[in-house]
């Protein structure tokens, strides 16, 4: 269990000493904004003064130093004095990699564990001292403090960006004026084996998070073993499958065999194997001094092609060997290097393809409950393959029938998109879209204030599903991205527990960005959003509605549960907040989602009612609170395939929209009567209470408008329905004044109860 925090990488600066005054962070930030130009830089968020006494700056004793003692106390050091100790080069792996400045790097991670975006850009070495991170790139990272290392993982590239052991880090500080920033100095080995000190600077959402990071670091450093031998590698993040790479090497080996001269082929093969095993082999890297511009051009474009070779296979270069070789040899070797690069790139591509298909197989590995027959699959294929699909309106009944007959698993993501397109086409009134229109990729570049809540839930969302199982593996990082983007899009809801399951189901069926669009659709257009609002009033109304429905449809069950004081909030809250995804088999959940995309949030009521109804005899057999709750929570979700299919078929035929409307009004009336004003209140208290009531009614008014719109569309545009909505329209008009509304509501209630009675 490592602690994780979301941070924004600001840049890095070469510094002269391993330690520095805490003002260094501020200086770095200023330098970044200077080198970016005045407008792009990070602005100081704190207007407060120079509260140096409160800020923490930690300096750490280095590897050779005995114990972490007095130095790491909260102390503000002035003047950046060096403590006189030297870095110990002992135990460090010598660096063979010689980088030509004109060369972009050839790998995702170098010996220092740095990804390409963090590298020294070619050019003037003096200017390279200050390297602000590019503002166009996604600079957000997950900062993790382990037992003896820190890691920075990019959720965007899903790779480790920086990995430093504690003993490489000599200084850590929070900004003094920029209190939401922090940074650390670490030792880095550069060309020729000499050490430099680099200060990395990061930004957090707020000061409190920086405080927490500093506290965690202080704690971690004070207990970390002094000499750390075992490096923890984050295999999951890189998800490199070694066996597969070997297979691919052999595969490509045989495919290129025909087109290569035997001698070259042999050296190529052996060097590939050697390089994969981490052994060094000669590769000339100074092509530019020979002026072979055509080759250079090719190589440059190749190496820009992407992360070649993965992070754990550094290419070692032995410079001495180069001297002994002649021009021809060099040319020959260079050719070889190019071929290797081509090969590696191809392997990488193949590997990605295989990984993608494997990941898809992994994600869709659930039992389908309505196996889709061939002719239904053909119907789906036909609809999904229609040219300019998103503009063609299909017959609603055809779609309904098709969904009822089943959705093929492999097309499910596409079908959901199709259903959402069809819904939007059928709308005459534009839907209530989020105020924030920032595209997904841009949202991902920002920091979210919900980072902690999201990070803590990643491991608790589908914890046993292979795709989400791995700690910060591809699945969890995608989930993080999706939830983070949503929390930024919709600050009112932000992140609410339960959402991670909805997002997770979407991610199993489609890519991140599509899943984000579908999440937006479900929340804003299908009406899921309101139940996640911070007051959760809507969820409580839904619980009331469910209990009333239970009263209508299964009176004996209702009475039985009431006797044991089991309200729906005890078992049905996760059903609503996760659309059954937290407890039920995925095949069933997928079908619920099919219906959800077709009919909207009402489906959850229907499924709940149908499930409770079909299990009524079994529930009635239990007669204590514990056994009933245990049955509903653990036995009921493991219902058999036949039962699941029956449930879904029932849901297709149910119509409960009128009851739901009536019970919502009923809830409000009951609430209103509960808090009806006692007579003894004085004038000002009455006024205050009226004010509060008024405010809550205004909110309800907005909700009703929203509801009205949704209902109008989902129930079709028949005349009778418009008529039935008439009282609602009037209600909405009345809602500005508390008193008449009550009267109006009571009338509606009476009318609806009369209807029920008849």
């Amino acid at each position: 269990m490592t602690k994780r925090f979301e941070v924004l990488f600001c840049g890095r600066v070469t510094v002269a000493h391993k330690k520095a005054p805490p003002a260094l962070i501020d200086e770095c930030i200023e330098k970044f904004s200077q080198s970016r130009g005045t407008e792009g830089g990070a602005k100081p968020v704190s207007s407060g003064g120079f509260v140096s006494g409160l800020r923490r700056a930690l300096t750490f004793p280095l590897a050779l130093n005995g114990k972490p003692g007095d130095e790491e106390q909260d102390a503000v050091r002035e003047g950046g004095q060096d403590r006189g100790r030297e870095w110990a080069p002992a135990g460090e792996r010598p660096m063979f990699f010689k980088r030509d400045p004109s060369f972009p790097c050839l790998e995702a991670l170098d010996e220092n564990g740095l990804s390409p975006e963090l590298h020294t850009p070619p050019g003037d070495p003096r200017a390279a001292g200050v390297q602000p991170a590019s503002l166009q790139e996604n600079r957000t990272m997950l900062f993790m403090v382990g037992r003896s290392q820190i890691f920075l993982v990019s959720p965007d590239t899903k790779k480790v960006s920086i990995e430093k052991s504690f003993r490489e880090i000599s200084f850590c500080s929070q900004g003094i004026r920029h209190v939401d920033h922090f940074g650390f100095i670490c030792r880095e080995t550069v060309e020729g084996g000499s050490c430099t000190f680099i200060c990395y600077v990061f930004q957090c959402t707020d000061e409190a998070l920086v405080d927490e990071i500093m506290l965690t670091l202080k704690q971690a450093f004070s207990v970390a073993p002094i000499i750390i031998m075992n490096k923890v590698h984050f295999q999951n993040i890189l998800f490199i499958k070694k066996k597969r790479v070997y297979c691919l090497i052999l595969y490509h080996f045989f495919t290129v065999m025909h087109c290569l001269p035997p001698s070259l082929f042999f050296t190529l093969f052996s060097s590939l194997i050697l390089s994969h095993l981490g052994l060094s082999f000669p590769v000339p890297f100074s092509i530019s001094e020979r002026g072979d511009s055509s080759l250079e051009g090719r190589v440059l474009s190749l190496s820009q092609g992407g992360a070649v070779g993965g992070g754990d296979r550094p290419l070692g270069v032995v410079p001495e060997e180069r001297k002994r070789r002649g021009q021809a040899d060099l040319r020959e070797l260079w050719r070889k290097a190019i071929l290797q690069q081509i090969l590696l790139l191809r392997m990488e591509r193949e590997n990605n393809k295989i990984q993608a298909s494997e990941s898809k197989r992994l994600r869709l590995d659930y039992e389908e409950i309505t196996p889709c027959l061939k002719d239904v699959t053909l119907v789906w294929e036909g609809m999904l393959g229609t040219p300019a699909r998103s503009t063609v309106k299909f017959n609603r009944d055809t779609i309904h029938t098709a969904v009822g007959q089943g959705v093929p698993r492999q097309f499910r993501g596409e079908v959901w998109k199709f259903l959402s397109e069809q819904y939007l086409l059928s709308q005459t009134v534009p839907s209530r879209t989020p105020a924030n229109n920032t595209p997904y990729k841009e949202l991902l570049k920002q920091l979210t204030s919900q980072q902690h809540a999201i990070l803590i839930d990643l491991g608790r969302t589908f914890p046993t599903h292979p795709y989400f199982q791995a700690q910060l593996g591809a699945g969890q990082l995608s989930l993080y991205n999706l939830l983070k983007a949503y929390s930024l899009l919709d600050p009112e809801v932000g992140y609410c527990q339960g959402l991670s399951f909805i997002a997770g189901v979407l991610l199993l069926h489609m890519g991140e960005e599509e899943a984000f669009n579908m999440l937006k659709f479900l929340m804003y257009d299908m009406g899921l959003r309101k139940q996640y609002r911070p007051d959760m009033i809507i969820l409580q109304i839904q619980m009331y509605q469910l209990s009333r429905l239970l009263h209508d449809y299964h009176r004996d069950l209702y009475v039985h549960l009431e006797q044991q004081e089991i309200g729906p909030s005890l078992y049905a809250a996760p059903w609503f907040l996760t659309a059954f995804a937290s407890h039920f088999p995925l095949g069933f959940v997928a079908r619920v989602f099919d219906m959800l995309f077709l009919q909207g949030a009402e489906v959850i009521f229907k499924v709940s009612l149908s499930l409770l109804g079909s299990h009524k005899p079994l529930i009635l057999q239990h007669d204590s609170l514990e056994t009933i709750v245990d049955f509903i929570k653990t036995t009921l979700p493991n219902l058999g395939l036949v039962q699941m299919e029956k449930t879904i078929n029932q849901v297709c035929e149910m119509d409960i929209s009128k009851q739901l409307q009536a019970y919502e009004v009923e809830y409000h009336v009951l609430q209103d009567e509960l808090c009806d004003m006692p007579a003894h209140l004085n004038q000002s208290q009455r006024a205050a209470q009226l004010e509060r009531t008024n405010q809550s009614l205004r909110q309800q008014n907005l909700d009703l408008l929203e509801e009205l719109q949704v209902n109008k569309l989902t129930c079709g545009h028949t005349h009778t329905h418009t008529l039935s909505l008439q009282p609602w329209v009037e209600l909405v008009c009345f809602c500005r004044f508390p008193r008449p509304v009550c009267v109006a509501w009571r009338a509606v209630l009476k009318a609806s109860s009369n209807q029920r009675g008849s």
Binding site: I456, C496, Q497, G498, E565, L570, L674
Partner: protein
């Protein structure tokens, strides 16, 4: 199963402090490092013995996220004991104790016994809240205090049982009105037989105040 008393507990505290793990360790004697998120309210029960009497603990485990409070609040009312949990490796969970306590006091009956629990005591190396701080907070607010580890089971039994002892003592002292079920105490069928003022069937049929 026959019991002399039934005590209702509620477990509260920030998200991720280990509430569900504490409950699981107490009821099932196991630790599950990966488990589903608690959405809304979960529930567990176990029998214990105090002073030779069988006592059933009925424990309500709540979601920690702020927005769920409006849902979980309704479970305070019928609780005789509350376990207020923080995580000793996360200071912010300790800092939030005051709001939790205010919330609990406001919505529960005044006699509710509150046990403060500093969980994850096995993670000594990552400790951010000293034991003394927990003790001081408990003293200041009149709570019982304990550090536990749901992972190693250290002090978990004790935390639940000591709370029950406290409630039991209060019953003996006559502080709790055991005839009022809103206090979170129910007299079991075994006991009710000897207690002529209560009819055993009455307890079961009393319906709650509805869902609103």
């Amino acid at each position: 199963m026959a019991y002399a008393y039934l005590f209702k507990y509620i477990i509260i505290g920030d998200t991720g402090v280990g509430k569900s793990c504490l409950l699981l360790q107490f009821t099932d004697k196991r630790f599950q490092p990966v488990h589903d998120l608690t959405i809304g309210v979960e529930f567990g029960a176990r029998m214990i013995t105090i002073d030779g009497k069988q006592i059933k603990l009925q424990i309500w485990d709540t979601a920690g996220q702020e927005s769920f409070r409006s849902i979980t609040r309704s479970y305070y009312r019928g609780a005789a004991g509350a376990l207020l949990v923080y995580d000793i490796t996360r200071r912010d969970t300790f800092n939030h104790l005051t709001t939790w306590l205010e919330d609990a006091r406001q919505h529960s009956n005044s006699n509710m016994v509150i046990m403060l629990i500093g969980n994850k005591s096995d993670l000594e190396s990552r400790r951010e809240v000293k034991k003394e701080e927990g003790e001081a907070f408990a003293r200041e607010h009149g709570l019982i205090f304990m550090e536990t580890s749901a992972k190693t089971a250290s002090n978990v039994e004790e935390a639940f049982i000591n709370t029950a002892k406290e409630i039991y003592e209060k019953i003996q002292e006559g502080v709790f009105d055991i005839n009022n079920e809103a206090n979170g105490i129910k007299i079991g069928p075994q006991h009710a037989a000897t207690n002529s003022t209560l009819s055993g069937s009455q307890g079961g049929q009393q319906a709650g105040g509805g869902c609103c």
